[in-house]
């Protein structure tokens, strides 16, 4: 154990090693470590953000689907109601049309009836005149006995009715 100039040499060597380490070894290594730490932290944050966005998006999608379903239901409902309305309308129109047709027909029938009645009345009058003239064996002046004939025809008609 003897102290000599080696101590000076070793101190110089140690100083140089420290200088080298401080200058060339520590900074790049620490920088790499810190950069990687930052990268990992960023990555984790991004992953978390992605997860959150995903859950939000799936929530959004769910609400959109729900909305669409609701809308579809409403549309179907509306369509049903509309179709019912159309059917109802059609039925009403059909009934009205039918009634109109029936009314027309009835009117025509009534017209026809009254026309036939008139014709019949005329025929009956003629027949009555003809019968009377055959009974009296002479010509009856239709004009002179018009009121008589008319009365007869009405009586026949009244008997028939």
């Amino acid at each position: 154990m003897n102290i000599n100039a080696t101590i000076i040499g070793q101190a110089i060597v140690f100083t140089i090693l420290i200088w080298f380490s401080v200058k060339f070894i520590w900074p790049p290594l620490l920088k790499a470590i810190e950069d990687r730490q930052k990268k990992i932290a960023d990555g984790l944050a991004a992953a978390e953000r992605g997860q959150k966005e995903l859950s939000q998006a799936s929530g959004d999608a769910q609400s959109i689907v729900n909305e669409a379903r609701e809308k579809a239901l409403k549309i179907v409902d509306q369509a049903n109601r509309r179709s019912n309305e159309i059917i109802e309308e059609a039925r009403a129109t059909a009934i009205a049309e039918g009634q109109r047709l029936v009314g027309d027909a009835r009117q025509e029938v009534a017209l026809e009836q009254s026309r036939a009645r008139d014709a019949l009345r005329k025929d009956v009058a003629q027949l009555a005149v003809a019968g009377a003239s055959r009974l009296l064996e002479r010509e009856i002046d239709a004009k002179a006995h018009a009121d008589l004939i008319e009365k007869l025809a009405r009586e026949i008609e009244g008997a028939k009715a």
């Binding site: 154990m1 003897n2 102290i3 000599n4 100039a5 080696t6 101590i7 000076i8 040499g9 070793q10 101190a11 060597v13 140690f14 100083t15 140089i16 090693l17 420290i18 080298f20 380490s21 401080v22 060339f24 070894i25 520590w26 900074p27 790049p28 290594l29 620490l30 920088k31 790499a32 470590i33 950069d35 990687r36 930052k38 990268k39």
Partner: protein, 271 residues
């Protein structure tokens, strides 16, 4: 070991404890210590420099991962004790840890192999463990002391530091200046002495035990019961001591590093 083997145990041990020297008196240089320490410094820092040069934030290779692990380990040690800017102290700690570890590890080389290799170059002596040379350990501890004082100056200013030398820990009464200063002097000087002597003592003793164990086998005198027994003794004791020494060399490197950090941290704290 040059030429013929040692005549006896005393000569064997003395031979192994003799440095390869150049110069006279104080101006003697231990060539083996210088060479080995520089070699270990270049080797350890070179290996780390390889990783540092290619270091990137991407996926690290195996070596880079290991180096970063060591760097993080050292940085954590510093961070726990020293709360100021670590950009200087942390690499100092790393340098101490690596260099001391590598120099200590030379103790695990087979005892006579370095001497034989030195013999090929015509060198008669070659001590392979630089940290078993008190010059290395004191050079390191005194450099550490300089760093500690520098940090003190930086934290308190030169005036503040000198003021503290005379007024702490007892008080600022002028009567107490001398006791204060003496106590601080002892405290200041005990640090490098304890640092240096602890490392030196451990490595020197370790080396010496290796030599004693080696002497067991050196007493080989043919296939007799005694020779066989001492040979088995050397193998068992040598293995056990070498395995235990793996712990010692790491532990001593760690202790030197941690105490450096602690001393520096203490120096920057105000009393």
């Amino acid at each position: 070991m040059a030429g013929q083997g040692p005549a006896n145990s005393t000569e064997y041990i003395t031979h192994h404890l003799t440095h390869l020297k150049v110069g006279e008196g104080f101006w003697t240089i231990h060539v083996d210590t210088m060479f080995m320490s520089v070699l270990m410094g270049v080797l350890s820092l070179g290996l780390f420099w390889m990783a540092a040069r290619k270091a990137s934030a991407g996926v690290p290779g195996k070596w880079q991962a290991f180096v970063e692990m060591v760097v993080e380990f050292v940085d954590t040690q510093v961070k726990e004790v020293f709360h100021l800017d670590r950009r200087f102290l942390a690499p100092v700690a790393l340098t101490i840890f690596l260099w001391v570890f590598f120099m200590n590890a030379m103790d695990l080389l087979p005892l006579d192999v370095p001497g034989v290799i030195a013999g090929w170059f015509g060198l008669h002596y070659w001590r392979v463990v630089p940290t078993a040379d008190v010059n290395t350990t004191f050079a390191m501890s005194i450099t550490v002391l300089v760093i500690v004082i520098a940090f003190s100056f930086k934290a308190k200013g030169v005036g503040g530091y000198v003021h503290e030398l005379f007024t702490a820990p007892f008080g600022s009464n002028p009567v107490l200046w001398i006791p204060n200063f003496l106590l601080n002097l002892v405290e200041l000087l005990s640090k490098p002495v304890s640092l240096a002597m602890r490392l030196f003592g451990n490595m020197y003793a370790g080396e010496l035990v290796f030599m004693l164990i080696a002497l067991l086998g050196a007493s080989w005198a043919g296939f007799t019961f005694g020779s066989g027994l001492s040979m088995i003794g050397q193998i068992l004791a040598g293995s056990a001591w070498a395995i235990f020494h793996i712990l010692i060399i790491t532990l001593q490197a760690f202790i030197f590093m941690v105490l450096t950090i602690v001393y520096t941290a203490m120096a920057t704290e105000h009393h």
